[in-house]
């Protein structure tokens, strides 16, 4: 074998080693991806549990569910000197501030039918940034349903 051929072989060996190294780096990087669904599941559970507990909690003026129903349909009730819509808005903002804000989440909370929307930081309605979504329907029979949404994002 000539000297030039031997040098080409040496170069080929180096290229193969570099390619192997890159292969390992890419393979290990891709291995982290399968954990993403678990994170999404955990965050979705967090959002759902938040909404369930929020709707079920009691206020000095009755249950939160009653106040949400009134805020969405008639807005007749008064609680602590403010309308039901304002009270629901204030209480939701307080609970969110004491929990998700402290835990470092960005979120969108909304009750579209009552015109309540709490977006303290950046809007996270796009699917790309979303970590988890919570949805809680509430019956306002005979006036239809009320939907409550909580989106968590990075």
């Amino acid at each position: 074998m000539k000297r030039a051929q031997i040098e080409v072989m040496g170069l080929a060996v180096i290229v193969v080693l570099v390619a192997l190294g890159l292969f390992f780096v890419i393979a290990l990087s891709l291995n982290n991806d399968p954990e993403q669904p678990k994170q999404e599941f955990t965050n979705s559970q967090l959002a759902k549990n938040f909404l369930t507990s929020f709707v079920r909690s009691d206020t000095p003026c009755g249950s939160m569910a009653d106040l949400i129903q009134d805020a969405a349909v008639q807005n007749n009730l008064q609680c602590n000197g403010v309308s039901s819509k304002e009270y629901v808005n204030q209480t939701a903002a307080y609970y969110l501030e004491q929990t998700l804000d402290v835990w470092g989440y960005t979120y969108n909370f909304s009750i579209p039918r009552a015109g309540i929307e709490i977006i303290p930081g950046e809007d996270c309605t796009s699917d790309r940034d979303k970590w988890g979504t919570g949805y809680q329907p509430l019956s306002a029979y005979p006036y239809g349903d009320i939907d409550i949404f909580l989106d968590l994002c990075s």
């Binding site: 040496g10 390992f24 549990n49 938040f50 369930t52 507990s53 909690s57 009691d58």
Partner: protein, 158 residues
Amino acid sequence: MKKAQIQMGESIAVVVIVIVLIVFGIVIYSRLSQSGIEEKQRIYEELDAIELATIILGLPETHCTFLHSTDINCLDRLKLKHFAGQLDESPAVRLFYADLFGESDVSVAIITPGEETEVITLYQGTTGEDANPFFVPVNIYDPLEQRYAFGYLNITVS
């Protein structure tokens, strides 16, 4: 310098470059493996916390019951306070529940608008400082006032 010496120098340079490449590869591989192991450890701690949260929410010592039926995602305030007192005061009780709680901190926060957040500490058993807390929003039922409060279960596993 003779031709043979130059060729020897070339061979040595090639060997050195190859060794440097191999060492570089090993270093990158080990760092990625280490970060992978740390990530796995964090995931397992999180899974332990989820498992413990599920157990606590279904534990007869803490959950809400109405006419023998269990209320989901709800903790009884009186049961919590009594259970926390027992765990704090009695070493035998603490030892009995040590297997269940393991190396974890468990507390329940009750949030009331206009008032300071009340925290009931159930168990303190963590040893690590870099443990990640896991939160589960729950309702805390007060059987005396028959009211549901908003709160959360805070679990830290190390």
